[in-house]
């Protein structure tokens, strides 16, 4: 048997042992998973960011402009000392400024404007009633009413907000159902691995 499959099979069973109760075998598998994930990500980031984007272009190709981001990166470490911590505000300010500049227009378009236009639908479509249109309109208005806190939730406002909670509950229910399905799929995937690759019980 392939050593990788053997190790993966044993570690899968070690993780499943937690379902009985917490135990040292499970703890060892958990620590391995976290250690390997962090180690793998660290190596990938070191290679693709520090080596590929900074050290090689700066020192091998002589792109001196990269001294600026290099110094800005070093300034982040100034937070370790109280005397110099103010220096870290410069790269943080740059990152937030640039990030917001790039993200705000894109998010405004995709998450607000496009969603608003998608919420407006014709009630009569091809000569027949489009039932989705009033339901979506009612759902959007009542859910927004629930999150509108500048006015007390009484009377019409209270009833609309209450209706909004039902729409929210439907969303949470659907999300919960899908999450259960997702976790079951993960479990089934591991059972598939154990029965086919590890134990060879099915082909």
């Amino acid at each position: 048997m392939d050593i990788g499959i053997l190790v993966a099979g044993i570690l899968t069973l070690a993780v499943f042992s937690f379902l009985y109760k917490d135990n040292p075998v499970y703890k060892a598998a958990e620590s391995w998973l976290i250690g390997l994930s962090v180690g793998y990500a660290l190596v990938i980031f070191w290679q693709t960011t520090i080596i590929d984007l900074l050290l090689v272009p700066l020192f091998s190709e002589g792109r001196l402009i990269l001294i600026i981001p290099f110094l800005l990166g070093l300034m982040m470490f100034s937070r370790f000392s109280k005397k110099t911590s103010w220096l870290s505000r410069i790269p943080i300010a740059l990152m937030i400024g640039a990030g917001a500049g790039v993200a705000i227009p894109a998010m405004l378009y995709a998450r607000t404007l496009k969603q608003m236009s998608a919420s407006v639908m014709p009630i009569i479509e091809n000569g027949s009633l489009n039932i989705e249109a009033p339901v979506v309109a009612l759902g959007v208005i009542s859910t927004l009413a629930y999150f509108y806190f500048s006015r007390e939730h009484k009377g019409v406002m209270g009833s609309t907000a209450r209706l909004g909670t039902y729409f929210l509950m439907i969303f949470f229910g659907a999300t919960f159902g899908y999450t259960v399905m997702s976790r079951m799929s993960t479990f089934i995937g591991r059972v598939d691995f154990l029965l086919t690759d590890f134990l060879h019980l099915i082909k």
Binding site: L19, Y20, K21, S37, Y40, A41, I44, F45, T48, T49, D52, L53, G99, V102, A103, A106, M107, Y109, A110, R111, K114, Q115, S117, A118, F171, A174, T175, Y178, T179, V180, M181, S182, R183, M184, S185, T186, F187, I188, G189, R190, V191, D192, F193, L195, L201, I202
Partner: protein
Amino acid sequence: MDRLRTRWIIFSGLAIVVIVSYLITIKFKTAPSPATLKAYKYLDTLPEKSVVIFSFDHEASSLPEIQPIALAMLRHAFKNDLKIVGLSLFAEGTAIGYDLLSKTAREYDRQYGSDYIFLGFKPQYISAILGMGESIKRVFPEDYLGNMTDTMPIMLGIDSYDNIEMVVSIADGDRTVQWVEYAGARYNQKVMAGLTAAMITSYDPYLSSEQLYAVVGGLRGAAEYENLLDKRGGGSRGMLAQSAAHLYILALVIVGNIIYFRNRRRGGGG
């Protein structure tokens, strides 16, 4: 001790239900959902040699659910002789993406460098997605194996999203949203997704506003895609087990409620 025993019984029951239904080899036909059908039809009608990006934007922990989706869509793409550019915007998805791509390419005898390429991982996903709109070769000067991308035959006619028909983001989180927001909104790039089931409701607004072209969601989505492709895989194999597990959970919910209401009537609280 009672709580421990109850938990042990519940989990053992679930394990038995899943394993037994897994060993029963009944072919489970799943009617395709409109979103899966749309994804399938799009890839199916693309002309040969069209270029599709497969972005593996997921962690290793979601592999059991992600793998059947990715394999079904990759098999479809290779079967229809589409050119595939693989990459990852999530560090953990890098080696997995390369592995899945290479494994599927071998099944269809496709050659690395001319039929498919894996560009590897790029940090700062927003700048990577935006940069690819200007020049993919500038964002990825080297591929995953260290070859210069501008020397690879597959990359000769590919420079930006203008040469890409579709981006398929295989994701377990919100990385697909960034593809939609930056590649879709800014460069008008078509984006579809292969998602874990837990993420489906989060992406429904993007699907209904047509910012996301189509979604293949969860193990069920994988099974639907495999049925359309007429190639049995992990999704189809797991559908009977998943249905049985859902029935088991439903039964537990009903039994739990009966016990709760019975105890409440007796005045014992929950």
